[in-house]
Amino acid sequence: MYIEYFLLVDRIVALSIEEGVVRCEATVPTESTIYQGHFPGFPVLPGVLLIEAMAQNAGWLILAMTRCERFPFLSIINEAKLRNFVRPGNVLLVESKLIHEGSGYIKTENRVLFENAVMCEATTTFRVLPFPSPVFQEKLIAHALKIGFPAEFAPHGR
């Protein structure tokens, strides 16, 4: 996780459009200014960042589904449950599964695991739109390929 750059998953470990599933690894940083306030003497990754991590995770699946032609903007978060404290150094597995696609939106169920225990879960719905900027698209695809995004789902010639 690079919290300062808002990059919250580190590596795509599995992605299948056929199964509608993506899994990513994310290591919680051991040092961050966030822990100065959250909380002094008891550092915990904020739940809002876990929800964003789940959204980013699902985003890689949706980008693959659209061959990186459209970007998923987070629109709805349902049934978010923060079950356990996530601590510095935890190596997390983030999982997302497609549950519905239609009307220009995609809905996924997501969860975060640490040592096989569910730390949190949420259902997320994304509005899927053409990239609003070619620079954004270019930079995102470059980052995607660095973290294990399958090249077959990137536009040709990347």
Partner: protein
């Protein structure tokens, strides 16, 4: 149509917590029932699932925004149900 309406009305009642008796074929989902676009999305997904279709909500929204259609054409429930029936028929053809 009536069976489609009953299913749609039940979905709306359950999804948006609106009393079933307030939901009528002439009701406008937005203007009369106060359903906003994101709430309507949950209804659209439930309709997709119930009827095995895909409502082209994105296309409808675009047509409304471009002034090519009125919201009533899509969001008055009897009109919505007619479109659902047409999508069902097209799928079965």
């Amino acid at each position: 149509m009536s069976s489609t309406f009953d299913t749609v009305a039940s979905i709306i009642a359950e999804t948006c917590d609106i009393p079933r008796e307030n939901i009528k074929p002439e009701s406008h989902a937005i203007d009369d029932l106060g359903i906003d676009s994101l709430d309507f999305l949950d209804i659209a997904f439930a309709i997709d699932k119930a009827f095995g279709i895909k409502l082209p909500l994105e296309q409808w929204t675009q047509e409304v925004n471009e002034g090519k259609a009125t919201t009533g054409q899509y969001f008055v429930l009897k009109n919505l149900c007619e479109r659902i029936d047409a999508l069902k028929a097209a799928k079965g053809a």
